[in-house]
């Protein structure tokens, strides 16, 4: 898409301009130190983010990965070996890496050799099952991360997951109990748990409460050599800047989308995640 590559070019150019503008007679020595320091910035590659929402078909993850890329380039804190996100599905790659392990493990369990599975590497506390559930300190299959790192000459992989997208106050959606709903309905629906089916029973209107568009997204930095997740943050943001546009049919590539809270919220989330990363680097909570 023309717009996308122009935006990236703009960001790279801006980064370069910022760098060059520091060259000034009075700050010559500082410049030398700054230039030297920049050579120690860690080499990274950005993997396309995963989308764990029910809106997978909309490819928000591609859009989001591009936004994160822009912010990373602007930050100047990391050196990106590839100027666009690596367009491969990391969870698929991880699955392929582990598929034989699953077959072997299932066979071992069926034959009664459970220790082969439970006392194996995959079951240590540190081993993460998937990229999206990996927490800080856990390890994702090093054979995969090492290979990606080598292919791209990157010390670190940056990856993330979109966990939630949508309008309305969904933070507590599962738990909202309509207080005005009498016991009638609740007592006589067989088998419903206390927490089931009570939310939105009182909701007559189809439009959710308009609290703007929300995004919950994770970003993690993985050391390629040993697969360790060295940093992992979650951002939960909302954007409520635009009024409801009444047009009823969009396609996921429509230009109008750029003006909606959906895209603005994704931008805000990307900014928050990269901003948190920069802050943690600056305050020495993260050293790459």
């Amino acid at each position: 898409m023309m717009n996308k590559s122009m935006r990236l070019f703009g960001a790279v150019a801006m980064g370069a301009a910022l760098f060059l503008s520091q060259a000034g007679a009075e700050a010559a020595e500082k410049d030398a130190a700054a230039v030297e320091a920049s050579f120690h910035t860690p080499t990274c590659v950005l993997m396309k983010f995963s989308d764990d929402t029910r809106f997978k078909a909309l490819e928000s993850n591609e859009r989001f990965s591009d936004l994160v890329m822009e912010k990373l380039l602007e930050s100047g804190k990391v050196r990106l070996q590839v100027q666009t996100p690596i367009n491969k599905d990391v969870e698929d790659m991880l699955y392929n890496e582990r598929s034989q392990e699953f077959i072997d493990a299932k066979r071992a369990i069926e034959s009664g050799d459970l220790s082969a599975v439970f006392e194996g590497q995959a079951f240590s506390d540190e081993t993460a099952n998937t990229f999206s559930t990996a927490e800080q300190g856990q390890i994702i299959t090093p054979s995969l991360t090492g290979r990606i790192g080598k292919e791209n000459e990157a010390e670190y992989l940056i990856h993330g997951t979109i966990v939630e997208l949508g309008k309305g106050a969904w933070e507590d959606m599962d738990f909202k109990m309509g207080m005005q709903v009498g016991a009638t309905v609740l007592n006589n629906i067989p088998g419903l748990g206390i927490f089931g089916s009570i939310a939105s029973m009182a909701m007559q209107n189809s439009h959710k409460n308009d609290e703007g568009f929300g995004v919950v997204a994770d970003m993690r930095i993985i050391r390629a050599a040993d697969g360790k997740v060295v940093w992992n943050k979650r951002a939960s943001v909302r954007s409520k800047k635009t009024k409801n546009i009444g047009i009823s049919i969009y396609s996921k590539d429509s230009a109008e989308l750029n003006e909606t809270d959906y895209v603005k919220a994704l931008e805000k989330a990307a900014g928050t995640l990269v901003g948190d990363m920069v802050k943690d680097i600056n305050e020495h909570r993260l050293s790459l």
Binding site: D52, R54, Y95, R98, S99, E101, F102, I103, A105, K106, I109, E110, G112, L114, S115, V117, F118, E119, A122, F123, D125, N129, T130, S132, T133, E135, T161, V163, E164, W170, E171, D172, M173, D174, F175, K176, M177, M179, G182, A183, L186, N187, P190, G191, L192, G193, I194, F195, G196, V216, D218, R234, S236
Partner: protein
Amino acid sequence: MRIKKWIAAAALGALALCLPFDTASAGKLDAYRNMLVAHNYTISYENITPPERIHNRDVVDMTYSFGRIPTPQNYAQKSYSGMIVAQGEKRYVEVNYGGESRISLRQADKTFSFKGIAKKDKVEYKGMNGGKEVTALKFHPENELLYGESFGTSEVSRLLGAMLPASSIPAGLPVYQYVGAGNLGNGLSYEDYRASSSAGLEAIRYYFDGTKLVRIASASYDRDEKGNLVGHKCILKIKDFSAVPDASKLALPENLKVVDHSQQDKGKKKHGFGF
């Protein structure tokens, strides 16, 4: 006719006895099984490997979702901790996401749901909508018999529920059978169970330090939408599992005001025909 019926009943009884009871495993798990059956315990755990997100699938089959505390959407895929306290007809079930907890409390024939938010050294309790009111609903004893006991989330309910004797688990759920026991090099010992059902294959290993249950690990394998074999794991670190119920949890927090929707009339009026 009568004799035949008697034989049939005896045969059924004999068959019932022959069914693989997990209590056939003489073992360290028995002490815990007995606590669960007696409804007299405090369990505190940490789930360090939460499952991947599954959309909507768990609300479709009531057997797997009854009484389960669902994960708030902004805590999806995060590890969590929890606690279950039981004493006779009282039961406290909590799932805690980084200091924010969801709690279900049963006292005799009433149930309550509320939230807890950790602030410094204490916990602030609120109703589900953030205010001070909590709704009392009627407890339905038949639902536990029909769908099984809930220990919090689906995953934890499955792993702890597998410890119950077969007579306490409703028909239709996967049957966990004892596989074996042994010792590990690090001083821990284990007991293994395995179930195979339409949902897939699962093995659960209960780890003991001496006779103390310290960890539960589960390995499960099923097919995804594309038909590929996928493995999942779940590890619960058991922080506490004792026969001493924590009584402080079994009382409703004082600051919450009860709105009672639990009472039905049950025929106190004279109805005659019609109502």
